[in-house]
């Protein structure tokens, strides 16, 4: 099965083309340019859009706008190509890329998204990792001092385990189906005090 996978929920957008488990290519950029990467992945693999059989998309949690760019892209592709879509949690993909690690994504406003038993949003200080817990992700990098003081171990800032890698989205993708059934994971209600008029 030829799967196109991408996740634009965090600052680093990731995309990969995976054929029956074999990673044909993987790229990084930003949410707004993820289609440039997707285009390059297909060209490099000599694949045509018609050959795509499934789309695996990151559903967050992460930046609300980033999550939506990913899902709107997936839905547009599904509509135009008639391919099924599967949603993959950004936290699950991070965890799959760093076995045994606790994924911690920067949620802005002094909070982080984490995967404890289920995805949650909380202040870094509320996260009490048991000593020696490996923490990865943009939140682990940003709140390194807090988390290390609590006993966590955090790889160097440049370590690739800190960013989601779309090969893992392709690996984790299950239940491909209608694109509109794949919903974003926001974990926060909208800020209603900010109206435009």
């Amino acid at each position: 099965m030829l799967i196109l996978a991408f996740d634009t929920a965090t600052d680093v957008a990731t995309s990969a083309l995976v054929s029956d488990g074999e990673v044909l290519g993987e790229r990084r950029s930003r949410a707004v340019t993820v289609l440039e990467d997707i285009d390059a992945l297909l060209r490099q693999a000599g694949a045509h859009t018609r050959e795509l059989e499934g789309i695996a998309v990151g559903i967050g949690p992460g930046s609300f706008t980033g999550v939506r760019i990913g899902l709107a892209t997936a839905r547009g592709l599904a509509l135009a190509l008639g391919v099924p879509v599967a949603g993959v949690s950004t936290l699950d993909a991070l965890a799959a890329g760093a076995l045994g690690a606790l994924p911690v994504v920067d949620a802005r406003r002094g909070e982080v998204f984490v995967l404890e038993d289920e995805p949650r949003v909380l202040a870094p200080a509320e996260l009490r990792p048991s000593p020696g817990t490996l923490c990865v992700g943009s939140g682990a990098v940003r709140y390194r001092s807090v988390l290390e003081a609590a006993g966590a171990e955090i790889p160097a800032d440049q370590d690739e385990r800190h960013v989601p890698r779309a090969r893992f989205h392709a690996q984790l993708a299950r239940d491909f189906g209608p694109a509109e059934a794949v919903e974003p994971m926001y974990l926060r209600v909208p800020d209603a005090d900010k109206t435009r008029k």
């Binding site: 289609l35 609300f64 939506r68 839905r75 509509l79 135009a80 694109a179 974003p184 900010k194």
Partner: protein, 322 residues
């Protein structure tokens, strides 16, 4: 065919038009009800809703038009100005559709979209003309010389937009959000000369509406709740008269200044019955095309320079024109 997509504010819209400007479908899903309880558009709420609706609305537009994507030769999408998070949903979906089909993409300016509502069949307007664009976020006088390219801005509002003035006034009078259309409706039973609401005269061809709502506020405050209720139609009619007068006066002044022989009115406020009557010499956009829709975006796409594959893959949205 041209597929248009619009998600700049609180309407998720898609439309299909023919290469010669006939509307085959025009689907608008308004979120007004969703935002009414906040008294205005909440950007994050709007963006979430756009994501839920954008592809279903595109599918409905294709279905209604009796065409499929195989018939589409160009995709037009609003790239700005508007709410950035909302715009990005439409832009991402449009880019994906265009890329998947190797179609060209037109990045449409929302305001040029409003002007292009005049270019659709069956009765298109031919430039040159002076255009009053009065909407929820903008009030401008434009010197439109040709169908493509940016028109020259002759004047604009210094504070509130005309639609915003309608909505704020409507709110003071107890109408729901957005109240422009309801105020228009209620004003028909009122006396427009009951109250004298002054509109600030600013130099040049600009507008200022912010003082107006204060005048209305004072007038409303002087009344008991029961009086306010009884005089609501008079207040609405007088308030509307003041806005319409200012719009008409400045528009005629601008037409004279540039020697325009034709005048047109577009944007949500162009739906106002008093404005349409008062500017009888002007061509007003068809009622269904005044407030946000995607037929006008497809129409603007028709007269734009489309971006060919792969030039649009990194296309971004913009919140303001500045």
């Amino acid at each position: 065919m041209i597929l248009g997509i619009e998600t700049s504010c609180d309407e998720t819209a898609a439309a299909v038009i023919t290469p010669d400007g006939r509307i085959l479908s025009n689907v608008v899903s308004s979120q007004a009800d969703l935002h009414a309880r906040y008294g205005g558009v909440v950007p994050e709420v709007a963006s979430r809703r756009h994501l839920e609706l954008v592809t279903p609305v595109v599918q409905e537009a294709l279905r209604d038009s009796g065409t499929t994507l195989d018939d589409v030769d160009l995709v037009g999408v609003t790239a700005g100005p508007g709410l950035i998070g909302a715009l990005l949903v439409g832009v991402a979906a449009a880019k994906a559709i265009a890329w998947a089909r190797r179609l060209p993409l037109a990045a449409v300016d929302h305001l040029q979209g409003h002007v292009a509502s005049l270019y659709l069949e069956p009765d298109p307007v031919e430039p040159p003309f002076l255009c009053l664009l009065a909407s929820g976020g903008h009030t401008m006088l434009l010197d439109v010389q040709e169908r493509n390219g940016k028109p020259r801005v002759l004047g604009a509002t210094l504070d509130d937009a005309a639609g915003e003035a309608f909505d704020k006034g409507a709110r003071l009078l107890g109408f729901g959000y957005p109240g422009g259309a309801e105020l228009d409706h209620v004003a028909r039973n009122g006396d427009p000369s009951a109250y004298a609401f002054p509109v600030a005269r600013v130099p040049g061809l600009d507008f200022s509406f912010s003082g107006l709502k204060t005048a209305l506020l004072y007038a409303v405050r002087k009344l008991t709740a029961e009086e306010g209720e009884r005089r609501r139609a008079d207040l609405a009619a007088s308030y509307q008269r003041a806005i319409v007068r200012a719009l008409v006066e400045r528009t005629r002044q601008a037409a004279e200044q540039i020697g325009a022989t034709r005048i047109a009115v577009v944007g949500g406020v162009a739906a106002n019955s008093e404005l349409r009557a008062a500017l009888a010499e002007a061509r007003a956009a068809p009622l269904a095309l005044c407030t946000d829709n995607a037929a006008m975006i497809a129409s603007a796409a028709r007269f734009s320079n489309p971006i060919h594959y792969p030039g649009y893959l990194g296309l971004d949205a913009y919140a303001s024109t500045a």
